[in-house]
Amino acid sequence: MTDQEIISEIRQGRREKAIKVLYKELPKIKANIISSGGDAEIAKEIFHDSLVLLIEKVSNPKFELTSKLTTFLFGINRFLWKNELRKRYKNPELEWSDTLILSAEDIGYNEEKEEKIKILEKVLNQVTERCKKIFELFYFKKEDMTTIAKQLDFSSVNSAKTQKYKCMERAIELAREMAPRDLQPNPTE
């Protein structure tokens, strides 16, 4: 698949094939991370995070690729790994002597936002399966509420909507409650 094909697959919601192609880059990224102090597990984690960021970025119709897609993926990966090392060693001056590191803006990475999303992801694991299903169909699959109500056997579109917004309200509240604790910066030694 060419880069453009991968991008259009992602934009049309057919991510699986694209992910499969991009996943072939894992061994190289793994080796890179392992050779600079990481282990296989963190390598996989960071690789998955990079894939998520790449897919999010590419999904935006305004996104324009200025390099090879794999180069972009490696760039994101290096950024995330460097970020991880910074957190681990509390060394803000940690630099890799190469030009492939993208900046946070290039990637659309915002530490605070990422922390909030992490909390929301935790909260999402606590909502009922039915609510989760509604959210996924609505926000991810971009289905409209009429279809969702039918698909999930709601008595009416309105009851589906009510369920969705009540659930979401509760989830966001929960995230707010969790945020102050979770958003504390790492205690310095």
Partner: protein
């Protein structure tokens, strides 16, 4: 529907771009006037992103689960196969091929002539060489009956030189840089294309080797407790089938936790630790999957000798590297 639920629906419409231009600009004006609304919009946007992200992660995990079929997924099977097949094949092939060895091209490393039938003693023999170093003569436990003693005239001084080569000023190994632009295919695919002579290599290349080492080799516990680090030179032969034989290991240097090199007396005192490093290196090589055999200029597999170095670094890292030959 409750009023705030209605607001939330409005926010969804706004975020999904389903409002008309007028509605949208009116909504924006309202957001500017009402910080509470603006915050709700921000939260809801993040919420939607989190939902999508979880779904993307689920898709990635699905692909990841399917991608786990690599050969090293089950090292035990690979290892068992290597040992069993190695015992039989290596004995035959190595013997047959030793007569062909002199014909190979200079690029190919040829197995040293070693008496094939010498029994393998199991002890370690410290060899004192002038200077501050002790050379250890590692003798492999006979598993396939084909391991042999190492050439005792191994040049220790050269070992120093070779050991120093891959280290940078801090005494840490240089980070290996990969050419991420052009590294498109796996080592296996290259094998078919590249018919020139080449050295034996770990299947799927150095990267796969690193990962294999990372996932399958554990730092010797006693060495970790005693806070000792070491570098082990491992030599072995790779036959035409990729089987390894005559694995020989020598601990060429040890360091304390402060990277201070042990002198000869300390090395003697810690020789049991050196032995642990050596044994670990040998068993790692032995249980590795079969290597890609070296090839001559016609692309035919030939027997070759490989030298790799195991670097045991505290707190528990193991680096494996080769010294590229510069001839």
């Amino acid at each position: 529907m409750r009023a705030d639920l209605h607001v939330m629906e409005q926010i969804d419409l706004y975020l999904q771009g389903k409002m008309s231009v007028t509605e949208s600009s009116a909504f924006q004006a309202k957001m500017q006037a009402e910080p509470v609304l603006a915050q709700m919009v921000a939260e809801q946007q993040l919420f939607a992103q989190s939902v999508s992200r979880q779904a993307i992660i689920a898709e990635i995990n699905l692909v990841a689960a399917g991608a786990g079929g690599a050969w090293y997924a089950n090292p035990f099977v690979a290892a068992a196969g290597a040992v069993v097949v190695g015992g039989i094949v290596a004995a035959i092939v190595y013997y047959n091929s030793s007569s062909e060895a002199p014909e190979a091209t200079p690029e190919t490393q040829i197995a040293r002539q070693v008496p094939a039938n010498s029994p393998a003693p199991v002890e370690i023999l410290p060899v004192v060489v002038e200077g501050d170093t002790i050379g250890y003569q590692e003798v492999v436990h006979p598993v396939d009956g084909n391991d042999n003693t190492q050439d005792p005239t191994a040049d220790i001084a050269e070992d120093h030189h070779e050991y120093d080569a891959p280290l940078n000023d801090n005494g840490t190994p240089d980070r290996v840089e990969y050419d991420i632009e052009d590294q498109g295919t796996t080592g296996a695919a290259e094998t078919d294309l590249n018919k020139g002579s080449r050295n034996a290599s770990f299947p799927n290349g150095d990267l796969a080797r690193k990962i294999y080492i990372e996932e399958n080799v554990i730092y010797p516990g006693t060495a970790q407790k005693e806070k000792l680090q070491g570098t082990v030179k491992v030599e072995f032969n790779v036959d035409k089938e990729g089987q390894k034989s005559e694995i020989r290991a020598t601990c060429i240097a040890m360091f304390d936790e402060n990277e201070k090199r042990l002198n000869s007396t300390q090395m003697v005192l810690k020789q049991s630790i050196a032995k642990l490093f050596e044994d670990k290196a040998v068993s790692t090589v032995r249980t590795m999957p079969p290597w890609e055999p070296a090839t001559d200029s016609q692309g035919n597999p030939v027997v070759s000798e490989v030298t790799i170095y195991f670097q045991f670094k505290l707190p528990g890292r193991i680096n494996v590297y080769e010294i590229p030959e510069n001839e």
